[in-house]
């Protein structure tokens, strides 16, 4: 390994050190320098907006799960599109037709989901 290679790695090393220091330094300075006068309001959990009412374990709308499942399925199908897109240059017309068939099948699934009413949020 020659010096040039080492320099490249050193760059990453310095980057990592700075990245670690950036959050640590302000937090440590706050700890060391800041005054500490706790009162009940200050020690309360920080939360935006109004305080929560009731149990957080409420039932979600069932539509939420259906959306999530449909998203999961279609999201992962994109895995097959990436290698296709990367290799597309060397593949030619044949691969184009194949991916069209693949996408057509996915659209049929989408039509099914749509007609079943799973895309309505009411």
């Amino acid at each position: 390994m020659d010096l040039m290679d080492l320099n490249e790695w050193a760059f990453i090393g310095v980057f990592l050190v700075i990245a670690a220091l950036l959050p640590i330094v302000p937090i440590a300075m706050g700890r060391l320098l800041g005054p500490r006068k706790p009162n009940p309001v200050k020690t309360d959990t920080y939360e935006c907006g109004i305080e929560t009412v009731g149990d957080t374990w409420i039932q979600f709308k069932i539509q939420y799960y259906i959306f999530a499942l449909v998203f999961l399925a279609f999201d992962v199908e994109a895995v097959f599109l990436f290698p296709w897109a990367v290799a597309y240059g060397g593949l030619g017309f044949f691969a184009f037709v194949e991916i069209l068939i693949f996408l057509a099948l996915l659209s049929l699934a989408l039509i099914y989901v749509w007609r079943k009413g799973a895309l309505k949020w009411t």
Binding site: G90, G92, L108, Y112, R115
Partner: protein, 509 residues
């Protein structure tokens, strides 16, 4: 680096039965959602049509041999026979479901038939797999719709529970399968089965350390497919799932899943790894393991079935026991000289078992009441005096499951025992014979209840529907015809020659 397949290497034609079913299923998926509610009754008939078209093509092109999708897919008589077994089961299962869904007021839920078509196409691809990747994807295509189907009788708690159990254990088993496939890929550098064949031969010859990877891989694959076919000690889910799932699904699972999984097991072991013969042994390394599994499966399945009082649980243990007999044939196929004979015996057994078991389940469906009760053995009391024809047919199916001559079940057992004895597995054959006698007790117990005991068999259907009647008729005819005309199965299977010879490899086959 990347070779694009040409249209010739895709060779769609030979894959027509499986492809047509997949395309049919996808089209039906779309048709289903556009059909108005009152026309939903068409869906099962369209599904049946799709299955029958595929079945017809499989029969017409029975002896066609060819590879498709750049060697991923292979069509030969083995594929055709597996197709026929699976498609007949699917067709009968659709007929059963039409009756069952109507009675349980689930008629409007036509997605049942879509799921059934998808799982059927998974089974077809299992039988035609010439590559381990295809085995894996096909197994999942088979399993995932079946998980949903087992839980189809929602909101019935038992059905949901069956689905969850089947899903968790099935997902677990598929983890083993891919790990095993990865090991074989690591050892041989390919997932293509003829490539695995060549790689294995080279590894065994040079005794390289890759041998351990291969052995580990084979072991894991046997475990995972053992789960699917319900072999002891991987059978725990079977009675629970069979009892909880809707009865037509149970019927299809007991036959179709077995056919598909055994087909994949035979493809992997007999096509890919027959040369995995350790020094000093005469048969493949996996044969002994399978022989032990077969013995355990036959013993435990038959003895536990004796104690069951619910007909679906009894048939579940009986199906475990039958998996044991088929495993015996697979173990026999580990002997190179008996390879093809063992494969043929396993397929014959699957074919005869398909008709018999679907027939038995069809009668269980006829007896089941709409709330799911009526499945206890005592519910069969006095059936002979009330419904003599049903009782007669049930007797026939029970005798066939026992393996009495002149029924299809006898022919299946005959070929399996023959192949085991030819492979020198005499002890295993003796265990099989003894456990068959044990099995006779619990099958005949039902006949005794129907004919000799008094009772009011309060059966679910006052009158058989046409579809259920047709299913029982076809199953009965199949059981009878293969029983009295045994040369038919011999004709069907003589073309099934999947053991590869050196000449085939050298010739680029």
């Amino acid at each position: 680096m990347i070779q694009m397949p040409t249209l010739e290497s895709l060779n769609f034609g030979v894959a027509f039965p499986a492809l047509s079913l997949v395309i049919g299923a996808v089209l039906l998926l779309v048709v289903d959602v556009f059909l108005p509610e009152r026309r939903k009754g068409l869906v099962p008939w369209l599904a049946l049509l799709g299955v029958l078209v595929s079945l017809a093509v499989s029969m017409i092109n029975y002896n066609e041999v060819g590879e498709a999708f750049s060697g991923m897919f292979i069509a030969d008589p083995f594929t055709s026979l597996v197709n026929i077994i699976v498609l007949i089961s699917a067709a009968l299962s659709i007929l059963l479901a039409m009756d069952y869904l109507r009675r349980t007021e689930m008629e409007h839920r036509s997605d049942y038939y879509l799921l059934l078509l998808f799982t059927t196409s998974g089974m077809l691809f299992m039988g035609a797999a010439n590559d381990l990747i295809v085995v894996f994807v096909a197994l999942e295509l088979l399993s995932i719709p079946l998980y949903v189907l087992s839980g189809f009788r929602r909101p019935n708690l038992k059905s949901e529970e069956a689905a969850l159990k089947y899903f968790l254990l099935g997902a677990f088993a598929s983890g083993f399968l891919v790990f095993g496939i990865a090991m074989i890929y690591g050892a041989t550098g390919t997932t293509n089965l003829p490539g695995v064949w060549a790689g294995t031969a080279a590894i065994v010859e040079s005794a390289s350390p890759s041998l351990y990877l291969l052995l580990l891989g084979v072991g894991l694959i046997v475990v995972s497919l053992g789960f699917k076919v319900a072999a002891v000690p991987f059978h725990m889910w079977t009675p629970d799932v069979y009892e909880g799932a809707p009865t037509p699904v149970t019927a299809f699972m007991s036959v179709g899943t077995k056919a598909g999984s055994f087909a994949a097991l035979l493809r992997i072991l007999v096509v890919g790894l027959p040369t995995l013969i350790l020094t000093g042994a005469t048969s493949a390394a996996w044969a002994n393991t399978l022989a032990i599994l077969a013995a355990l499966t036959m013993i435990l399945g038959n003895f536990v079935a004796l104690r069951q009082m619910n007909i679906k649980r009894m048939l579940a243990y009986s199906s475990i026991a039958h998996a044991g007999y088929i495993l015996m044939a697979v173990a026999a196929a580990g002997d190179p000289a008996v390879g093809n004979q063992g494969v043929q015996a396993a397929l014959i057994y699957l074919l005869t078992y398909a008709f018999t078991n679907l027939g038995a389940f069809a009668i269980v469906i006829a007896l089941e009441r709409n709330d799911g009760t009526g499945g206890q053995l005592d519910d069969f009391r006095g059936l002979a005096s009330q419904r003599p024809v049903l009782a007669l047919l049930m007797t026939f199916f029970m005798l066939s499951l026992t393996g009495i001559p002149l029924t299809a079940g006898f022919i299946g057992k005959w070929y399996v025992f023959l192949s085991a004895i030819n492979a020198g597995l005499v002890l295993l054959a003796v265990i099989g014979a003894v456990t068959s006698v044990v099995a006779a007790f619990y099958y005949i117990r039902i006949i005794v209840r129907m004919y000799l005991q008094e009772g009011d068999a309060n059966i679910g259907t006052s009158r058989l529907s046409y579809t259920l009647g047709a299913a029982i008729l076809v199953a009965g005819l199949g059981t009878l015809i293969f029983g009295v005309l045994p040369f038919l199965v011999a004709d069907l299977t003589q073309g099934v020659q999947i053991v590869r010879t050196i000449a085939q490899i050298a010739g680029g086959g």
